[in-house]
């Protein structure tokens, strides 16, 4: 057990020690040691500020992400049943999937200003295209024979969706969901940086303007951990549905 996990723990300790030593030997304007970072984080946590901004960010992310899911998935499935529209729209969906959405932030800023809605729009735009693109991809992979068999057994449209369309496309949609979680997080932080400075991103902005390096590192650590946790969750969801793939 120790031999297997030895290198892992060793490297973790080396990483922590490096952070502490480098942090102590350079100017605090550049980097602060881990101990000080955690101390600063503790203060922010106790004052309630960290928690409030975390909730703010979480609300932004989940609103944008859920709208993306509610739009992307039904739209993808609908496109799957309307073949000619799907063929027509496919290249444009791919184009938008490949376009760096950050480039649209300045337009959103000058059109919609600094409220909550433009930030939700940013998260939505980052997250919706992976879901839509992968759902359409999944719908494309349904064998036409399956639909024909369902039809020849006089299946209703509802039964066709429930028994063929959904089970076949859901694993693909979940790949999109995993990608969308990562992109949505980037969108959330980008919105908090470039639109109005709220949430955890906003907290970083104020901290860096006040040269509060400890808080900058601390919140980056928190967002990093959130990123790791959400990515894990996304992978777990994807793997769960991957078993359905034929």
């Amino acid at each position: 057990m120790m031999k297997r996990h030895g290198p892992f723990w060793l490297s973790l300790i080396v990483g922590i020690a490096l952070w502490e030593i480098v942090g102590r030997s350079v100017s605090p304007a550049f980097m602060v040691p881990l101990s000080e970072t955690l101390g600063r984080l503790w203060e922010l946590g106790r004052s309630g500020e960290l928690w409030a901004q975390f909730l703010n960010s979480a609300l932004l992310f989940s609103t944008g992400f859920l709208i993306a899911l509610a739009v992307g998935m039904p739209a993808g499935l609908l496109l799957a049943r309307m073949r000619i529209i799907r063929i027509g729209l496919e290249p444009y969906i791919m184009l938008l999937y490949a376009t760096p959405m950050v480039a649209l932030i300045p337009f959103i800023l000058s059109l919609m200003g600094f409220g909550f809605a433009p930030k939700v729009l940013v998260v939505f735009l980052f997250a919706v295209f992976p879901i839509l693109y992968n759902t359409v991809e999944g719908a494309r992979s349904i064998k036409p024979e399956l639909i024909e068999v369902a039809r020849s057994f006089r299946s209703s449209e509802w039964a066709l969706w429930r028994e063929v369309m959904l089970p076949y496309t859901l694993p693909f949609t979940m790949t999109g969901v995993r990608q969308a979680i990562g992109r949505g997080l980037v969108g959330m932080v980008a919105a908090e940086f470039f639109l109005s400075a709220t949430g955890l991103g906003g907290l970083i902005m104020t901290a860096s303007q006040n040269f509060d390096t400890g808080a900058v590192f601390g919140i980056i650590l928190i967002i990093g951990l959130i990123g790791v946790a959400l990515t894990r969750a996304g992978q777990a969801i994807e793997n769960r549905f991957a078993r359905w793939r034929v």
Binding site: E90, V102, V228
Partner: protein
């Protein structure tokens, strides 16, 4: 093989090509494209303020923008920075990736760090790099490297691990040295994975450059988009966005055709 050769007589090819140009799929795509543009134009004309980008405005802006020296310099600066950052990410990423892929100890020591950094939303480094490098081109370069390197490390590591054991055993039984084995067996086997990583990395590098320019306001294509849209010249700004999308697509095509041409032995599983 003989039947297709017979069918490929010149007139038939010509007819096939003409037929393909007017295939229902192409028609559907063209009509949808035109419909999108028309709806966009009408919606903007009816509801949005006059400075908002619309297709006719963007098309009219293109000839003006692509001869604008400011725009050309900005594009050049950003592309150079992306190329430089990608190069650093490729060299460093390939070395670390090979290490992780071929050494179990290195894998156990480094993989969780790489996975963690890869999961971190990349824009988060902006306050840090501007703190460390100031509002300079180096901050942008650091952002690009950070954005690109983890995709390369992870893919090269997967590739280096995927080398089939038989190849290594054959090389070993011919008394091949470790270095030679790495260069002649492991590297070629890892190349398709590397290219898949490079495709991801290039897109992220471009995004990294743009967000770094937004954040630090240093000159480049991202800043051009920011500046022109702030001064209510959305049509011109949108030409910049189109160019960014075109770079992304062009790189995708480049890597795809490169894989098909130079690595024809490589079959991707997802194609089957």
């Amino acid at each position: 093989m003989s039947t297709p050769v017979v069918r490929m007589s010149p007139p038939a090819t010509f007819a096939a090509r003409a037929g393909r140009a007017l295939s229902p799929a192409t028609q559907a795509r063209l009509i949808t494209g035109i419909a999108i543009l028309v709806v966009w134009e009408l919606v903007v004309r009816a509801f949005a303020p006059p400075y908002v980008a619309k297709p006719t405005g963007v098309i009219l802006a293109i000839p003006k923008v692509i001869v604008d020296p400011d725009f050309l310099t900005a594009t050049g600066i950003t592309l150079m920075a992306v190329a430089e950052g990608l190069l650093i990410a490729i060299v460093l990423g390939a070395v670390i990736g090979l290490l992780i892929g071929r050494s179990i100890v290195a894998d156990r020591m480094l993989r969780h760090y790489v996975n963690a950094f890869n999961a971190v939303p990349m824009v988060i480094v902006l306050p840090l790099v501007s703190l460390w490098f100031g509002y300079t081109g180096n901050a942008r370069l650091a952002t690009i490297v950070f954005a690109a390197i983890f995709a390369i490390i992870l893919n090269v590591a997967d590739g280096a691990r995927s080398v089939s054991r038989e190849y290594l055993e054959v090389a070993r039984s011919f008394r091949s040295g470790r270095a030679r084995m790495l260069i002649e067996v492991v590297l070629p086997a890892a190349t398709p994975y590397f290219l898949a990583g490079l495709r991801l990395a290039a897109g992220r590098a471009l995004i990294g450059a743009v967000v770094a320019e937004f954040f630090t306001a240093i000159g480049g294509l991202g800043y051009y988009i920011l500046y022109t849209s702030r001064t209510y010249r959305h049509d011109e700004a949108f030409v910049g966005v189109l160019l960014l999308a075109a770079f992304g697509l062009a790189f995708e095509l480049l890597v795809n055709t490169g894989t098909q041409r130079f690595l024809p032995w490589y079959r991707r599983d997802e194609k089957a």
